[in-house]
């Protein structure tokens, strides 16, 4: 058996069958029904809801109602694409169906009800989610129930719900929120401190170590501040000593750390803490207080000269900060808050302000970090960021469509200009010649041998090629119409994209204006805060000079 001959035959067949492929076939790949929801699951996890919808909604209209799994994914995709009413309807159907998906659908419904300001409905859905969901769903559902009870002022009920939860992130967050409420409403911080202790224990069971560490820092700072206010200075120091210096709350922790030391008459340690806090930008909570604390610390310990120097340094820092705030304000007015602030941080997602260690050292970005502590600010930035992403994606789509159109027009022109022999006249003799070669090789092959099996496969391909070449001319004639149809669709799509882009730009302009107003109002408040700190420092230094002058006069009087 001539192996080389057979390989040549395979190669020739590949060319022939390759030729029998018409451009722009309009039938597209069919994905098995059972794989669509699996593909949608991955697309949703990749943050591509439109792709998920493509998998779930493609193909012919299904004759049967979609399964609960499909409906759940459809609901999630609709939710991510701003179609909350459709999503709600889908989740409601799922929540009445298969138990396997009921918990997750109910949790979504609870969140939607919360967002609509319907706490009673939210509780009902959260209860259903907790009773029918897996552990992960249950913990989130119980957290929502506890939050709803807490917001309604039913703290004991919130505590009982949290008590039923397992250790981990959601229970820790619930106890932290409860502690914040207790700290606000109780004179005695005991209840708040106990809640924080429990929060800390719960947080330690969070398997996500990064998240656990950050939450622990927040709990420690809160507990430190509360202990200080209660007069438990050593306990406060115990909590604050554990706060990491590279955390956003570090200056606040250092300031209270210094206060606790000062309360224990350990001014040397207090000054060290405040000195470290001064190295952070003034935008961070606790930094301005630490600047003032330094002066007061020297004052209290009788180093009046150093106290004066510290106050003068604080005045200089506060005045410099006022200038920085004016500059930032001007930049926002001229370039817009999104460009001047968000773009400056070189990230476009909502968490941009957290993703760089520069945030802890650069004043301008530090103000942003402080600004973004407000949920309203996060929403405002998210709006602009979403619209910007949409605009970029639409511009990309527009470019793709232009390329497609040129390519389709070129293919159509080639098809129309073709004036050679009919393709079937060229291909048929080739196929016949190959068939003849196949017959020769077949006669030489031993029945049952590997070569015979390969030849059987070749025969199948050859038959397929023969069959396809039969209607080749007819299919080729249909190509120009098919290409023209596709070109029309591309042109229509181009117009749709242009209209959507205009809408995006209009809305973006409004969203940016709203963000600018919010950012300028925030900077206005920050300027007032710095101005107040400046006033206080100037008063302190005036008192100090007055004291020094009086002391000098008294000394002179005594000398005389």
């Amino acid at each position: 058996m001539n192996r080389e001959a057979m390989q040549r035959l395979f190669a020739a067949l590949a060319i022939i069958t390759g030729l029998i492929i018409l451009p722009a076939m309009t039938v597209f790949a069919e994905v098995p029904e059972n794989q669509r929801s699996s593909l949608a699951r991955f697309a949703l996890a990749s943050g591509e809801p439109a792709r998920a919808l493509y998998w779930l909604e493609r193909g012919d209209e299904p004759t049967d109602a979609p399964s609960d799994k499909t409906l759940l994914f459809l609901g999630k995709a609709w939710l991510m694409t701003g179609q909350s009413e459709r999503a709600r309807s889908a989740f409601e159907q799922v929540s009445a169906g298969d138990r396997a998906y009921r918990g997750e659908a109910s949790l979504h419904l609870a969140r939607l009800a919360m967002a609509r300001g319907e706490p009673a409905d939210a509780v009902d859905w959260a209860v259903l989610a907790a009773s029918s969901g897996n552990d992960h769903i249950r913990e989130q559902a119980l957290f929502l129930q506890a939050e709803l009870a807490r917001q309604a002022g039913r703290h004991d009920q919130a505590g009982r719900i949290l008590g039923d939860m397992e250790g981990g992130y959601w229970s820790a967050l619930g106890y932290l929120n409860l502690a914040a409420d207790y700290a606000r409403i109780d004179r005695d911080p005991s209840r708040a401190l106990i809640a924080l202790r429990v929060a800390q224990a719960m947080a330690s069971e969070d398997l996500d170590r990064n998240r656990m560490k950050d939450l622990s820092m927040r709990i420690l700072v809160k507990a430190g501040v509360l202990s200080y206010r209660r007069g438990d200075y050593d306990k406060a120091l115990g909590f604050l000593n554990k706060v990491s210096l590279d955390h956003y709350l570090a200056p606040q922790a250092l300031y209270f750390h210094g206060l606790a030391h000062a309360a224990n008459d350990n001014y040397r340690a207090a000054m060290q803490s405040w000195h470290r806090a001064r190295k952070f930008p003034l935008a961070f909570p606790g930094t301005t207080d630490a600047w003032l604390g330094m002066g007061r610390g020297y004052d209290e310990t009788g180093f009046l000269g150093q106290a004066g120097e510290a106050y003068l340094a604080a005045i200089s820092a506060f005045e410099g900060e006022g200038v920085s705030l004016d500059t930032l304000e001007l930049k926002i007015e001229s370039r817009g808050a999104y460009d001047a602030l968000v773009k400056a941080a070189r990230r476009d997602d909502v968490e941009w302000f957290l993703a760089d260690s520069r945030t802890l050292t650069q004043p301008r970005i530090a103000y942003l970090l402080h600004f973004m502590e407000q949920p309203e600010a996060q929403q405002a930035v998210k709006r602009v960021s979403d619209l910007e992403k949409m605009e970029i994606a639409l511009i990309g789509r527009e470019q793709d469509l232009s390329v497609f159109l040129v390519s389709l027009q070129e293919r159509a022109r080639q098809a129309e200009d073709y004036s050679g022999p009919r393709p079937s006249d060229l291909i048929k003799p080739e196929v016949e010649s190959l068939a003849e070669r196949w017959r020769t090789l077949s006669e030489a092959a031993t029945p049952g041998s590997p070569e015979a099996r390969e030849l059987a496969e070749l025969k199948r391909i050859l038959n397929d090629a023969n069959r396809r070449s039969g209607n080749f001319d007819k299919r080729l004639e249909a190509v120009p119409a098919s290409l023209a149809q596709l070109s029309d669709r591309v042109t229509t799509a181009q117009e749709e994209v242009r209209q959507l882009k205009d809408r995006v730009r209009t809305l973006r302009s409004r969203a940016e204006q709203s963000l600018d107003e919010m950012a300028l109002a925030f900077l206005g408040k920050e300027k007032q805060r710095i101005a107040r700190s400046l006033d206080r420092t100037q008063q302190q230094i005036a008192h100090l000079y007055e004291h020094l002058a009086l002391t000098g006069l008294k000394r002179e009087a005594a000398d005389e």
Binding site: A14, N210, A355
Partner: protein, 177 residues
Amino acid sequence: MSDAYILEARIAVRSAFLAVLVSFVAPANADALDQEIDQLKADVATMNRSLFELEEKILHPADTQFSVYLSLAGSGDFILDSIELSLNDQPAVSYLYTDQERQALEQGGVQRLYLGNLPAGEHQVSATFNGQGSNARYIRNQADFTIRKDQGETQVQLVLEANPQADRPELTLKEWQ
């Protein structure tokens, strides 16, 4: 402790705070701007869906279309980090997974790893996966397959099976009918 670790932690917690806070502060009826943005998002999603279909028709005619899907099977300790796919010794695609994507695959999700065109005939498909096995052991493994592309669409699925008994996960290939 590295900066990256700390920053990741901040992002994770703030993201959760954001999600929680936003859900609490959102007014009963989102303001007009948010409603308009939601409507726009829906319209863009609808348009994207039809554009995906159009793009597939133009770029990947069914006769030459070749797709590779990926899924996970089994319940080993293996954590998939990335995968590289080559067709006929030419790099076709590489993919780095996020935690959410990995989780989706573990829960039965399927990824369309590659969509392209191949002529009829025999082709080599090579897949190399990287990840972390038990005891944080780094694993890199390659699997080679020969496929026959017939006329019409051809869709194959790579299945990465993490068997707790086996030393390392194995890749198998099956064709969608």
